[in-house]
Amino acid sequence: VAFTKLRIQGFKSFVDATDFHIEPGVTGVVGPNGCGKSNIVEALKWVMGESRSKQLRGADMEEVIFNGSSDRPARNVAEVELVMSNADGSLPPQYTEHPTVGVSRRIERGKGSDYRINKSRKTAGEVKLLFSDAGSGAASSAIVSQGRVASIINAKPVERRQILEEAA
């Protein structure tokens, strides 16, 4: 499976629909302090089922919804879609007919969030299972949030064992 595109809209500082293409090899992301680079990383974790708002630097999950700027009003909805290519057929059998698989998560103020896989409603658990089958997930050790690289070193031994389970 390959992750090919992240479409972000209304999520944190990305109020307008923005496509972030994920290509093979190494993609660099640059820009001044506070411009929204780490927000992209959090959009990826969020669509993959991140349920702890603190991991996204918020007190509650609604803080991911664009809350306005000096010139724009706040929004009520945030949506992120992750598009994956299943050309290598590595996803579970029920996805064999789908050359691409789109997973989206949408949150509306006061109404909570819901998930869709290829436009049909799914539970958080089903989404998390899909990403675990794909070898990734919101808590993947291969996704290192800003300032967190040394946290593996400072974690307690039992917490560290859990990352080993990912590799098992």
Partner: protein
């Protein structure tokens, strides 16, 4: 469960020793399962010894040494169980220029050897010059983020200007 974990441990440990020694140009490192006969409940201890130094607790290592050790572990896990995506958000921030170059070597090599797509957020001109493509995030409209693709050749000339947004 138990067998797979023991097998994964062995593979990650081998990869960790090799990757650590490459990143530090020497030294030794290893993982150990402690506190428990049953691997499913044990803890994972990390031992790391940069070249020329005594084995000390990880907490006494410097900021840069801890980042390099953690990076070695992250890539050992990737080598044992490849993931479709790897995202590193300013992991190069505490590194000196020498270590930034080694970090980029490791990242570039894994991206070529595997199907893992790697995204690196950085402010470091050396890292900017070593990627396959660059995206700039700007707030041309204040408080609102937008994305633009940066022409690599131009970026090398203006690596620091891109920073100024």
């Amino acid at each position: 469960g138990r067998l797979r974990l023991a097998d994964a441990f062995k593979k990650v440990n081998e990869a960790f020793q090799e990757t650590f020694t490459r990143l530090f140009n020497g030294g030794t490192a290893q993982l150990e399962l402690i506190d428990g006969d049953d691997p499913l409940n044990a803890g994972l201890e990390i031992y790391a010894q940069p070249p020329g130094k005594k084995l000390t607790s990880l907490a006494l290592m410097s900021g840069g040494e801890q980042s390099m050790t953690a990076t070695a572990l992250i890539f050992s896990l990737l080598q044992t169980n490849p993931a479709p995506i790897c995202v590193l958000d300013e992991v190069d921030a505490p590194l000196d220029d020498h270590n930034v170059a080694r970090f980029c070597d490791l990242v570039g090599e894994w991206a070529r050897k595997s199907n893992t797509r790697i995204v690196v957020v950085t402010h470091h001109p050396v890292t900017m010059s070593r990627v396959d493509r660059l995206f700039g995030v700007t707030m041309a409209e204040r408080g609102v983020s937008s994305l633009l693709s940066i022409d690599l050749d131009e970026a090398l000339v203006h690596a620091s200007t891109a920073e100024a947004g």
